[in-house]
């Protein structure tokens, strides 16, 4: 089990030194090749089938050329420089993860039913639905493991929780990619679009983002106990998403004209980096409050031995906000840029926009309280928890209770 955990936490010789460095630059070179193809190649960037262009012979050529350029640059970096490979060592696990996701998706497509068996009216035989169900099971199981870990700290439950959470992330991420591919199988490719267009899809994205942010923090700060707060939040989301599926909200539907824009692919995922990070901050806050209460009431509790210290938890909450706040700010700005292109103004005081502003103010105030006032501990822990409730309302509540320009997020 621990070997699996090590593989997931991206440590070991594969992720260090020259090999990681060269791999990283090869990846970056490939990305450069992709961008170059979009700009310079014959057909250039075509909104909808660019992804498929990449997997054509032409795409492979461009990417290979890019990879060679990247590798060549990688060789020029002198290995004696202080922390010469630091950048690559940080970046390479992420890029590896992306490659693995794409590879998984490629494998799933082999199990896709034949074209004759696929219809828009009945999408139940598409493979992605089953992978999402597997993700649901993995994440729920992981939540149970993490909570069990609190009560049996010496056991293997913590590592099992980490491993299943990672497995859930890969299942969810690859299922989303597959859904993107599947959207082109329906209705003669007329409705293909990125899988970030309705509540069901963005929920899967949100689970993955929350888990990835948390698991990264966990591996760097040995914060296993915090998982017992993060994964239950994810589990609540999983139940909601299962409910969405049960009322038929999981169908791939054509995009309304307002959403047919490349902005959707940027604005929506970036927003969920923000939401996900705020969820992790909330979990850190809850862990802080729990540890605080435990220390006062049952200082002998065994659980305390695996909890990060109060100071660490405080720091973890801040770290999450430090990830979420810039992402959320950028997402809101890009949303404004999209609005300027689609709705005739960058800011319309639409309920979703206004609530995004409120969320931004809440976390902005958190940062001021922390740095200008020097607040720490209990107040800030509560702040992250309450801030997350505001975030939830901004995410789901606005769609369900308030009408406005963002109405496509509504249940239909």
């Amino acid at each position: 089990m621990s070997t699996i955990a090590t593989a997931f936490s991206s440590s070991g010789p594969l992720f260090q030194g020259r090999f990681a460095h060269l791999r990283c630059w090869a990846y970056l070179g490939m990305m450069l090749g992709m961008s170059a193809m979009a700009i310079f190649a014959g057909d250039g960037y075509v909104e909808d089938n660019y992804i498929f262009q990449l997997f054509s012979l032409e795409g492979v050529k461009w990417m290979a050329a890019g990879a060679v350029v990247g590798l060549a640059y990688g060789f020029t970096v002198s290995p004696t420089k202080f922390r010469a490979y630091r950048f690559s060592e940080i970046l390479v696990p992420w890029l590896d993860g992306v490659v693995l996701l794409v590879a998984l998706m490629g494998v799933y497509t082999l199990f896709e039913p034949s074209q004759a068996m696929i219809s828009y009216e009945d999408q139940s035989n598409l493979v992605s639905g089953r992978i999402v169900m597997a993700m649901n099971v993995l994440l729920l199981f992981s939540a149970i493991c993490y909570v069990a870990n609190l009560f049996a700290p010496e056991g293997f439950m913590g590592n099992l929780g980490t491993a299943t959470a990672w497995a859930g992330v890969y299942a969810g991420g690859s299922a989303l990619l597959l859904r993107w591919y599947e959207s082109y199988l329906l209705m003669d490719e007329a409705i293909g679009h990125a899988p970030v267009s309705n509540l069901y899809e963005v929920f899967i994205l949100l689970f993955c983002v929350i888990c990835v942010i948390y698991l990264t923090l966990e591996s760097r700060h040995q914060a296993h106990a915090m998982g017992a707060f993060v994964l239950p939040i994810v589990a609540c989301g999983v139940f909601f998403s299962i409910w969405l599926e049960s009322i038929g909200q999981n169908d791939i539907k054509p995009l309304v004209p307002a959403l047919q824009s490349y902005w959707m692919k940027i604005h929506v995922p970036l927003n969920f980096v923000g939401y996900g990070a705020f969820a992790v901050a909330c979990a850190a806050g809850m862990a802080w409050l729990t540890r605080d209460a435990l220390e006062r009431r049952r200082p002998q509790a065994k659980m305390l031995s695996i909890f990060p210290s109060l100071k660490q938890l405080d720091h973890l909450a801040y770290k999450s906000v430090a990830i979420g706040f810039p992402a959320f700010t950028l997402a809101t700005i890009l949303g404004a840029a999209w609005a300027a292109e689609a709705w005739g103004g960058y800011w319309s005081w639409d309920p979703k926009e206004t609530w995004a502003l409120i969320v931004w103010l809440v976390y902005g105030a958190y940062l001021h309280a922390r740095f200008s006032r020097g607040l720490h501990g209990k107040t800030l822990a509560w702040w992250t928890v309450i801030g997350f409730f505001v975030t939830i309302f901004c995410f789901v509540g606005v769609n369900m209770y308030l009408s406005g320009l963002h109405s496509y997020g509504q249940l239909t």
């Binding site: 054509p254 700005i333 292109e341 103004g345 005081w349 206004t354 502003l357």
Partner: protein, 557 residues
């Protein structure tokens, strides 16, 4: 200068202080919540109905129905700008001062509290110093001589404080851009029917509607809607021509998400509707003669029937009506029900009702179920109920057959089935002299249904859509926003500043070079970071090894 210190400075300090800023932000947040919970810019009558007179007038006095444009909401934003300015004036000089003042030494007392430190010994002083500097490339170094002692100080990420300055300046820039948009910009709607042109936009101002003339005319040459196979619209496209003094300047297509930019004004595809389509209806008189009249009209006009006091007020026309014909739980089955026209039918002694009349008969399993219409007694489209008319009115012979049958139908109630059947046969012979129609069984059913349904109609005629010549109007939004670019500059500054603030740590290293006997030097290295202590700890641990390694390999500088 003195008066500045006495009067302005305390005000600046007070308004630029954190509690005031927090208060303003909280007020802004609370007001925003109200603005989202209370739907903005709705019909005043709806508000009155919803809240009752007392609350309606209270809310209206507070401007809550158009809250984001009230003087008090603007004041909050204005005060926020003022507070930000004061904050910047107060703090920027201090920050700059701190950035300039770099203390070259660190006292022993201060060093005691710093976790990150180590001591190393080397034989060659100059080589050792060079090794330190080489180990941290890209750091900014400063040398201080205190008495006999040499101190080195290295800095990385000194622009950290610029993060704060940039972020707060950016907020100010964004707010300035926003106020420029409000002051000098406009945003309004224009509905242009196909083939016509317009040059006036309308927009809400408070609770009333205001108009503004554009410096050019916009003509809508064409408007089209494309559909997915599900019947959901996939694209709204307008072909527009810009005219100045009657001269055509440019012709272009716009779709949602791709506006057209002309002379500082962006033209957006916002909505569409019926632009006054021509419709032709057949009025089948429910009298002895059963004659059929033609009613020509346009949408948004009223047709007055010359033979009765009934009028038809045409409201909307739709060329398609795609409906899901499957029951709940079954796979979806989309079907186009064909064109329809909506009108309100009025007359003395008649309850006014909204009717949606369909041109095509209702087909179920390829069997003709006759013409149909939908009726709403409330005038609300959601309350539509479907009624069958029996006959297929798109087939003129069926109405003739019905009339012929009615005339032959025995008048006494107790007529035998045989007599009724004979009447029907005679009517068929008259209307279809060349032979019986193919779908005779269904035709019989339709006539019988018509016999049951038509006499119940309260109107003197049955109106059925016969023909149309459709025109759309395209709903454009025109906006001029001189503050937009300022907002984008502010936004870029904001993101840039945030990245510096969160991800650039200001790391400092002090090295005290202590000369010992025999040319040996001891380096006392101390490190501090204002962000991310854990990462810095790792880096600092590696630094000791790196300095030794570089020293052994022989530093280059």
């Amino acid at each position: 200068m003195n008066s500045f210190n006495l009067i302005l400075k305390p005000i600046l300090t007070r308004i630029g202080s954190m509690p005031v800023a927090i208060l303003l932000l909280v007020l802004l947040a609370v007001a925003s919540v109200i603005g989202t919970v209370l739907q903005q810019n709705q019909d005043q009558a709806d508000y009155l109905h919803q809240f009752g007179p007392v609350w309606y007038w209270t809310f209206r006095a507070l401007g809550l129905f158009d809250m984001y444009h009230t003087w008090w909401f603007m004041s909050i934003l204005g005060l926020l700008m003022f507070s930000l300015t004061a904050c910047l004036i107060r703090n920027v000089p201090r920050f700059l001062q701190e950035m300039r003042n770099r203390k070259g030494t660190i006292s022993d007392n201060a060093r005691k509290h710093v976790v990150q430190q180590f001591d190393v010994q080397f034989n060659d002083k100059n080589k050792a110093i060079a090794a330190v500097k080489d180990s941290l490339p890209g750091w900014k170094w400063m040398e201080t001589q205190v008495g006999e002692r040499l101190w080195l100080r290295g800095d990385k990420g000194r622009l950290h404080k610029w993060g704060y300055i940039l972020v707060h300046t950016a907020m100010l820039v964004i707010l300035i851009g926003g106020s420029m948009s409000v002051q000098f910009g406009f945003r309004g709607n224009m509905a242009v029917p196909e083939g016509k042109s317009g040059n006036e936009i309308s927009f809400l101002k408070g609770t009333s509607i205001d108009y503004l003339k554009m410096p050019f005319d916009v003509r809508c040459d064409d408007f089209t809607i494309n559909f997915f196979a599900t019947g959901a619209p996939s694209e709204f496209r307008s072909t527009l021509t810009i005219l100045e003094d009657g001269k055509e300047i440019v012709t272009t297509d716009i779709i949602v998400n791709e506006p057209f930019y002309y002379k500082g004004v962006r033209i957006y595809q916002a909505s569409f509707g019926d632009g006054g389509s021509e419709v032709t209806l057949k009025l089948h008189r429910l009298n002895k003669e059963g004659n059929v009249d033609i009613a020509h009209s346009r949408i948004y006009t009223t047709f007055e029937d010359p033979y009765s006091d009934v009028s038809l007020e045409f409201q909307d026309f739709r060329p398609y009506n795609v409906e899901n014909m499957a029951g709940s739980g079954e796979p979806k089955d989309f079907k186009d029900m064909g064109p329809s026209v909506d009108f309100v039918i009025r007359g003395s002694g008649l309850k006014p009702v909204l009717i949606r009349s369909f041109m095509n008969p209702f087909m179920m399993d390829d069997e003709n179920q006759g013409s149909w219409l939908q009726m709403s007694t409330t005038g609300d489209a959601r309350d539509f109920k479907t009624f069958s008319l029996g006959l297929d009115f798109s087939e003129p012979q069926e109405w003739a057959l019905f009339q012929a049958f009615m005339q032959r139908l025995p008048s006494n109630e107790k007529a035998s089935q045989e007599e009724n059947l004979n009447a029907f046969r005679a009517a068929l012979d008259e209307v279809y002299p060349e032979g019986r129609p193919d779908d005779l069984p269904m035709l019989g059913n339709r006539v019988i249904r018509a016999l049951q349904e038509l006499p119940n109609a309260p109107w003197p005629f049955i109106p059925v859509l016969e023909d149309f010549n459709q025109t759309y109007y395209t709903g454009l939004q025109l906006a001029k926003d001189p503050g937009m670019d300022v907002v984008w500059i502010g936004s870029a500054l904001l993101v840039f500043g945030l990245c510096i603030m969160f991800y650039v740590a200001h790391r400092k290293v002090w090295v005290q070079v202590i000369d010992k006997e025999g040319g040996v030097v001891c380096l006392e290295v101390t490190g501090l970071s204002n962000r991310n202590p854990i990462a810095f700890e790792l880096e600092f641990e590696e630094l000791e090894q790196q300095i030794k390694k570089t020293y052994d390999q022989g530093a280059t500088t």
